[in-house]
């Protein structure tokens, strides 16, 4: 069942749905399993497992694989998820790009469309996204299309805020603060739309398709134009009362010490003005480089431009105490780190962050384990497309 809403009683229909989703999760984690494996793992009775498996088979969510000999008895049939059992569309909107992707039940990307451009006003974006959704859905057969779980929409909340700190000037972003894009997209396409902020969406992709196959509790960081964050607790995503939990980007930090750092009005600045690819671009521009495109930025990172290292030190100097504060609150033992650009950046970031965290970890506490994210630049698209999967098929 869905996590009990405060004050709401639970009934046997919800119980059944919870157990169904639990079996799907167990299969996602194990890859292949017999009914006996599933009963053992979930502590459900063999009868309950048998009945649920029949229902999942009818819904085409699972398929039967090979057989495995067990002791002296009959060989047992192995069950696995059917990759074509469900599909999800993801739409990721950012200040500088729009991306639409179709994934299958295994998380593989089947089709995608991408526009690298400053975000247009909401109604223009709606036309663009509707056309992209039609385009990616064209790869499905009519039968498969019936198994579309819905559309996930991932976007930074408050697209119109913090423009100064991000070095952006286009006032058109502010129209997005009033837009109800998820609602409009659902109306225009006739499909269910699941909205989340982009940090949560990418964390949900890790939870459903990445490190979450192994771990239930982690903090997820994504270094993109801004820094995104999501929190996995007991296998679920912490949303917060207004959907903004894990809002690490606006944590207070000391102003940066780079010559390119913006003057801060007060004693404190926001983490996003130091730990973000926007801050890196700003520092590279200050060093005389042109960084008009994502590819240009990736190239400068790959070439080991000295300004990249300068920025990285300033980024870590802000990120380490902010992350340490987050870990104090959440008490999760690991942090998953991913970024929009690699070319050695993620490794360098993890190496320096590990040192800084070891330094700042208080007596009687342990620094977290740092793990690499699973999807890199695809985290946004897969994150968005994971939303309908997660909300429809995860026990929560």
């Amino acid at each position: 069942m869905d996590k009990p809403k405060p004050g709401r009683g639970q009934n046997s229909v919800q119980l059944r749905r919870y157990n169904e989703r639990l079996l799907l999760q167990t299969l996602r984690r194990l890859g292949e399993a017999s009914k006996a494996d599933l009963a053992r793992k979930t502590k459900l009775t063999n009868t309950a497992v048998g009945s649920i498996i029949n229902a999942l088979d009818e819904a085409r969510l699972i398929e039967y694989g090979g057989r495995r000999m067990e002791g002296r008895g009959q060989p047992s049939t192995l069950i696995r998820l059917n990759p074509k059992g469900a599909f999800g569309v993801g739409v990721r909107i950012d200040r500088e790009s729009i991306e639409t992707a179709l994934i299958d039940f295994d998380g593989a990307i089947l089709a995608r469309r991408q526009h690298n451009r400053a975000l247009p006003p909401p109604d223009e974006a709606l036309h663009l996204v509707c056309a992209d959704i039609e385009a990616v859905l064209a790869v499905l057969s009519p039968g498969e299309r019936k198994r579309l779980a819905g559309v996930g929409l991932a976007q930074p909340y408050n697209l119109g805020a913090w423009l100064t700190q991000l070095g952006l000037t286009d006032p058109a972003f502010q129209a997005w603060d009033k837009a109800e894009f998820a609602h409009d997209l659902s109306k225009a396409t006739g499909l269910a739309v699941f909205g989340e902020n982009d940090g949560n969406a990418a964390a949900i992709a890790e939870l459903f398709y990445g490190c979450g196959r192994e771990f239930d509790d982690f903090l997820y960081l994504f270094l993109g134009p801004v820094i995104g964050c999501g929190i996995a607790l007991e296998g679920d995503c912490l949303r917060g009362v207004s959907g903004n939990a894990g809002d690490i980007a606006v944590m207070p930090v000391l102003p940066g010490s780079l010559p390119s750092s913006p003057r801060s009005a007060g004693k404190w600045d926001l983490l996003l003005s130091r730990a973000s690819l926007n801050a890196l671009s700003r520092h590279l521009r200050h060093a005389g480089e042109s960084v008009e495109t994502h590819a240009a930025l990736a190239r400068l990172v790959g070439a080991g431009h000295p300004a990249v290292n300068e920025w990285l030190d300033d980024c870590i100097d802000a990120l380490a105490p902010a992350l340490q504060s987050a870990l104090c609150m959440l008490d999760v033992p690991r942090v998953i780190i991913d970024a929009d650009i690699d070319n050695g950046l993620i490794d360098a970031l993890m190496r320096k962050l590990a040192l800084a965290l070891a330094d700042i970890t208080p007596e009687a506490r342990h620094p977290p384990q740092l793990l690499r994210g699973s999807f890199g630049a695809d985290a946004g698209a897969i994150g968005a497309a994971s939303l309908p999967m997660f909300f429809s098929f995860s026990p929560r």
Copy 2:
């Protein structure tokens, strides 16, 4: 039922237990209610409510009160919790006191014992606490004693750590880091012992008996010798993977600027060395005052000693960004503030904190609502005694 453990199927026994606890919670919040009120509020069927009410009546957890006319039909009987339906013992261990209290199902303190002294070694403390438990239980009749839900044990984790920052020198505390006091106490008394860190325990008291009657999501702060914190999310307490969620005391903050502030080895200090009554005592001693006892400290606070205000400014200067960081992570709309000492301190703290938070809240976000805690200096004892109540009778 208990919150589903990751990977564990749910059955109808757990479903029933969840719904029972939900009815108890609804009664705790409403005070009095008819069966029809309960069905409406919990979205359970009338039949389910009737059957659960019968079971709760048999367990003596509820009682029937007056009748209320509803429209033209029969008057409905009102149901309420039976204050004598369950009892809980709380033991709160701190670096400078040991407190034992007995509460009833309404949260009223029926008996208590207190020792204001430096914490003795674990085995000596065990004898003391066992005698105190026997003493407080003596007020119950044999029938009532059968309805004892257990013993709650609240203590700061890592009693042996951060002694420098707290201005404590007794190395005897370090024996506590190895003690398994909850286990030993259970063995010595034959009672179920529920252990929590003191911040979580006091937050659970708020959740079960205080502001939680109205609110499901809040951050709870308690200014004691150290600063304690607990997190209520969706009506449950966030424990974290190692029971240390809400560990605000060890968040990194800049070193203090008071002449009494300890020299910090690095760039960062811990919040507890600025925002704690230990820090206040240290600053008062630096100003030439003697603060050997809790009463002496309370007197100096009440007299408006200028050093109190100096410390308060330094405390807020550290607390505001730490709290803001916590709120960014958790996305809860309110903070409940309580302290071991009042005499105007809580009001002054709340007033200054509200100003500092308004100043530090980023664009597009709102500062939290600040509320006064319900229990003041009793938060520790009631918090500890709430633990067996919460774990036995709260839907989670």
